[in-house]
Symmetry: C2
Amino acid sequence: MKKHGILPDVPLLVAVSGGKDSLALWEVLNELGYTTKGLHIDLGIDGFSQPSEEAVDRFASERNLTWTRYSLKEIFGYDLLEIKKRSRRKICSLCGLLKRQLLNRLTIKEGFQVLATGHNLDDEAGRLLGNLVRHRNEYLDKQSPLLPSTHPRLPAKFKPLYRVDAHEIRTYCKLKKIFPLEAKCPLSRGATSHIFKEALNFLETKMPGTKRQFLYSYLDRKKTPLDSLPFGTCKLCGEPTYDDLCSVCNLARHLEENSKKELDSGPA
Amino acid sequence: MKKHGILPDVPLLVAVSGGKDSLALWEVLNELGYTTKGLHIDLGIDGFSQPSEEAVDRFASERNLTWTRYSLKEIFGYDLLEIKKRSRRKICSLCGLLKRQLLNRLTIKEGFQVLATGHNLDDEAGRLLGNLVRHRNEYLDKQSPLLPSTHPRLPAKFKPLYRVDAHEIRTYCKLKKIFPLEAKCPLSRGATSHIFKEALNFLETKMPGTKRQFLYSYLDRKKTPLDSLPFGTCKLCGEPTYDDLCSVCNLARHLEENSKKELDSGPA
């Protein structure tokens, strides 16, 4: 964290899902003396969102840590199951988009400049593999442990655990008596991110060291991640965007149109 | 082949190992009316090189095709097992280096300008994945179905089967009554090229279409593969090289030194 210039005098908003990564991250930051506040988004997934929130609540209460809760339904108008019903796009991709965008906005709203997330080595290496295999160069440029703020309404984003793998984080949680929600999101079965992680784990088993070497040497060679495209402002909500509408307002409009179509065509 | 400007009036030297890919390639080229000559290198691998050569001989005799045979031991001074004994470097990588270099030289020696090889979709996509995962940018630039000649002593290199996968080639061989050597090289167990192919096959199973999409969109976006580095000349053999010595002479010297050390230290 020193290397990236994020010292304990920088207050951090920590995105906490209730899973092992975000709780381990919060624990470490707290132990290192950072001033933190947790932020949890209730996605409204039956049988998953409630135990997630309970895991966050238990962790924070035991350690006397402050956190706040937002509900996707309240902020955005739809919970995740409603979104899934109204769009043909992959739900994991929509959920990712919303979390990214809303976490940005809520970080600023909560008065913080830096958002810390629990992405680990497997997440980052898997994401890199997926972006390379699908040649998504526009995402490749943004892959970095620290993304500086490029707009007054965008926080810097930091992933302190990007060098630590899932197995190590599980061990850490056991040692520290952290009890994360173990269940996987029931909507994420067959998610492409899981498939790329599996492929990397296969390479790692056959050629130990591949995963770290793959991510680290990519990050070493990469240019600075600063975005050079000029920002505009979303016509509807005023958030920074490259387009007329930001991706959140764009998605909301798309879902609304699909709802109308459903109403027009009557009950199925 | 039309797209790449290699029309039937271009005589082709075909590298034939005796495996399914090279024999299928030779069959197709012959059917399309190309003037071809086969070239086989005997690598001197016990129990593998002889049946490889027999497969080439049977295929060529049945079709009345011309081919020529070279022996690694005779050209280079060591067969593959002797090289394996004398070097700690991975044998698959040394074998690849020698085949690349010697095929270049022998193509020119045989009076041809273009070398055709049987690399298929799996070979090319696996190689691309390996080069991306290990960030071997210097090799990435050279990955192309057609590498034009960049020096009077280097042939153009062409891989007509780069869009056809291993399974399709096996089917083609059955239909055309081609009987390639089915055995894998006994020295190649655990070769990294196999591992990357396996990882890609895993991705293909989970997300059909990934393999082709991965290779094709890489090739579409890539700049021209022309090499811009100036060539020098090998001090020992006069072949084109970027260094004082070409990679073949360099390897030969390395093996010789190791042989001397062995002699100096007496029998084991």
